[in-house]
């Protein structure tokens, strides 16, 4: 309240002085003097950054260069391929999270649905003698219903999605666990493991299918968000729910749909992760919850938009590169966890800052 001027830039190289195109729009209007003044270099950079994640891409190259110089074998084809596989797993778990963040929510049930999905297609399928297709269908329908209920409830009663998804995560795992009798052990069929095994090939190309799958998902998500009506409605709902309501967008349906989609995509990611890990237990989803959220935020998607899935993809690759370099330099897994926490805070400080309280009076 003491600083009445606009947000001061200087929270790192990725800093956007407008505090993100949406959140800071009214404040930045004052300082720019109605655009009569010539734009400074900083403003040009910020405008470019808002359109394309220049800072993240630059950091990506720097990280890769550091890794290639400091760690032996980091730049080899095998190493890059392995990192791309890891990135595609993170990216696939972040598909639903991206949409949820775009409408202004937060999905903490990703880890629960990953475990539930993975257990359903492995352990439950074995128990009940389902074939893979049936098990997958059961998982998708179940997750869709739970997710839809989450979205509907949050919107209807104006509850923070954080808490409802936290509960739903426990419920999703619980529903499966009750049937398996507590023991969590499933093993994935061999063909599923071939999807993401680093040595697997796709039509003769020495790159596992999961990477191409991720690319296809990326293209589809881009088409969906930028070219379809529902995609545009998701942005409108996130930016200003009231305005979206008045524009006859059924925001409750959007919320219901987005959370159902997030649950389903987490279940599908869980199936792929089951193949990657080989065996399934309750700790399968944990690491991916935070990494998926980190990928979304580091990519530059902000709560309530703007954002895009391809930004998340860049974020996922950046995270995996950084994580690999950190481990390669002799740090431990807990260190990497601390680093992920710090990088989320940095990215949010640069991008996702809320409006000043004094500007809301």
């Amino acid at each position: 309240m003491t600083e009445l001027r606009t947000a001061t830039p200087g929270s790192g190289p990725a800093s956007d002085p407008a505090g993100g195109p949406r959140t800071g729009a009214p404040a930045s209007g004052d300082s720019r003097g109605g655009g009569a003044r010539a734009r400074s270099l900083w403003e040009t950079l910020a405008a470019t950054q808002a359109r394309f994640p220049v800072a993240q891409v630059a950091l990506l190259f720097v990280t890769f260069a550091v890794g290639a110089i400091a760690i032996e074998g980091f730049g080899s084809y095998n190493s890059v391929r392995n990192m791309l596989v890891l990135a595609s797993l993170v990216g696939l778990t972040a598909v639903g999270q991206t949409l949820v963040v775009l409408v202004g929510g937060l999905d903490l049930s990703v880890s629960g649905f990953i475990v539930a999905g993975a257990l359903t297609v492995t352990q439950l399928a074995e128990m009940y003698g389902w074939n893979f297709g049936t098990a997958l269908l059961v998982a998708i329908v179940g997750a869709g219903l739970l997710g839809a209920f989450t979205g509907w409830l949050c919107n209807r009663l104006n509850i923070q999605p954080l808490i409802v998804t936290l509960a739903m995560s426990a419920i999703a795992v619980g529903v499966v666990q009750v049937q398996t009798g507590g023991a969590q052990s499933g093993s994935a069929p061999a063909w599923l493991s071939q999807l993401s095994a680093p040595v697997a090939t796709t039509f003769g190309i020495p790159m596992p299918p999961v990477v191409f799958l991720w690319l296809a998902v990326g293209v589809l998500m881009w088409l969906f968000l930028s070219r379809t009506r529902t995609g545009r409605q998701i942005y409108a709902t996130g930016t200003n729910p009231r305005a979206a309501d008045l524009a006859l967008i059924r925001t409750r349906r959007i919320w219901t749909g987005v959370f159902a989609f997030s649950a389903i995509s987490a279940v599908l990611a869980g199936v792929i992760l089951a193949g990657f890990a080989g065996s399934v237990d309750g700790s399968l989803g944990g690491p991916y919850l935070f990494q998926s959220l980190a990928a979304v935020i580091v990519g530059g998607t902000v709560f309530g938009g703007p954002g895009d899935y391809w930004r998340t993809m860049i974020g996922a690759i950046l995270l995996v590169f950084l994580g690999t370099v950190i481990l390669g330099l002799g740090f431990t897994i807990p260190d990497r966890q601390v680093m992920y926490g710090a990088i989320i805070l940095l990215a949010m400080a640069a991008y996702g800052r809320e409006k000043k309280l004094s500007s809301r009076i």
Binding site: I171, A342, I344, L357, I361
Partner: protein
């Protein structure tokens, strides 16, 4: 818009609305009724309830729930997800550093409380000064703290022969853990009557109005996070007294249940209404149900489903109570 709605409810206060308003005034009434009912059921089922031991086992959850409350009361989506990892982190610091330094005695209490408050302060500063949503700040802090705990020691650290280990056995039949629980309750009873307490509720209710009335919204909010951190520091002693070791793998044990307790205790997650007493009763209800489930030999795999269900019901009931007379969006 709000004015017309209030007018509407005044014209025709239905029975439902009146009940809601009553529950809003006595926010902890629901939790109190639930707690008493469960306590009676428990005493009927379990003849040898073992008060001292039960209170000691209950203490960590009680303190985690109370520690989560101030940040939520401060409103605007304020929530502290890092309470549970902070308790573990404080217990790790106590067991690995303070005891070898010879500070394991009573001097450790202010030190650990300060450590907790400092972490809470960082959460508050990041949330308020950088204007990052509290969820993101505390989730990041959650991972930082869980990572640091594992960094300090990848496996459990014993506390040896220490006064903390004697809390759970009780001092002359008086449950020592009850002291740990009562300290924040009494502190809160005093605090909520001070200027800070009133300002905290004002900020949580409507921060824009509070700012216009000259309340230092930012400092109040930061202080709320620091207060929660200090209570979490106290909670680390409760944690240590139960298991007698500092376990870095237990960082996430109380995250879900603590928030469920707050919601069950009648504190609205939108901020501005509620209190520590409600969270204590909410935590008590959850603990008693756990105890009941154990006695009735309900298989462990049902627990997750049960926790999720309780949290869901708690937030839905809370949202229904705090909803202001409106019917649709």
């Amino acid at each position: 818009m709000t004015i017309t709605q209030t007018a509407d409810t005044r014209q025709a206060p239905t029975a439902g609305t009146r009940f809601r308003l009553l529950l809003r005034k006595y926010y902890f009434a629901f939790a109190l009724a639930l707690f008493l009912a469960l306590l009676i059921t428990n005493l009927l089922v379990q003849r040898d309830f073992g008060w001292v031991q039960q209170v000691a086992v209950f203490a960590p959850l009680a303190l985690a729930a109370m520690a989560s409350t101030p940040a939520i009361l401060a409103g605007r989506g304020g929530i502290d997800l890092s309470i549970s990892p902070l308790m573990t982190f404080c217990s790790m610091v106590f067991a690995t550093w303070l005891i070898p330094l010879g500070l394991g005695g009573w001097p450790s209490v202010p030190l650990i409380l300060l450590l907790g408050a400092a972490v809470g302060l960082v959460n508050g500063l990041l949330t308020v000064l950088l204007r990052i949503p509290a969820v993101v700040v505390t989730l990041a802090m959650y991972f930082v703290l869980a990572g640091l705990s594992l960094r300090i020691s990848p496996s459990t650290v014993g506390i040896g022969d220490n006064w903390v280990g004697e809390i759970d056995t009780g001092i002359a039949g008086f449950p020592g853990a009850l002291v740990l629980i009562l300290v924040p309750v009494i502190a809160w009873a005093v605090l909520s009557r001070t200027l800070f307490g009133r300002q905290l509720f004002a900020v949580g209710g409507n921060d824009a109005t509070a700012l216009s009335s000259g309340v230092g919204v930012r400092s109040v909010r930061i202080a709320a996070f620091a207060l929660g951190g200090a209570i979490a520091g106290l909670g680390s002693f409760a944690l240590l007294s139960v298991v007698h070791v500092a376990d870095p793998g237990q960082s996430t044990a109380y995250t879900l249940l603590a928030i469920a307790s707050v919601a069950l205790g009648g504190t609205t997650l939108l901020g501005g209404r509620g209190g520590l007493l409600g969270s204590l009763l909410g935590a008590g209800s959850i603990f008693l149900v756990q105890s009941l489930l154990t006695v009735l030999k309900v298989p462990a795999q049902w627990l997750g489903l049960f926790y999720g269900g309780v949290l869901l019901v708690a937030v839905v009931v809370g949202a229904l109570i705090s909803r202001s007379g409106r019917t649709t969006s």
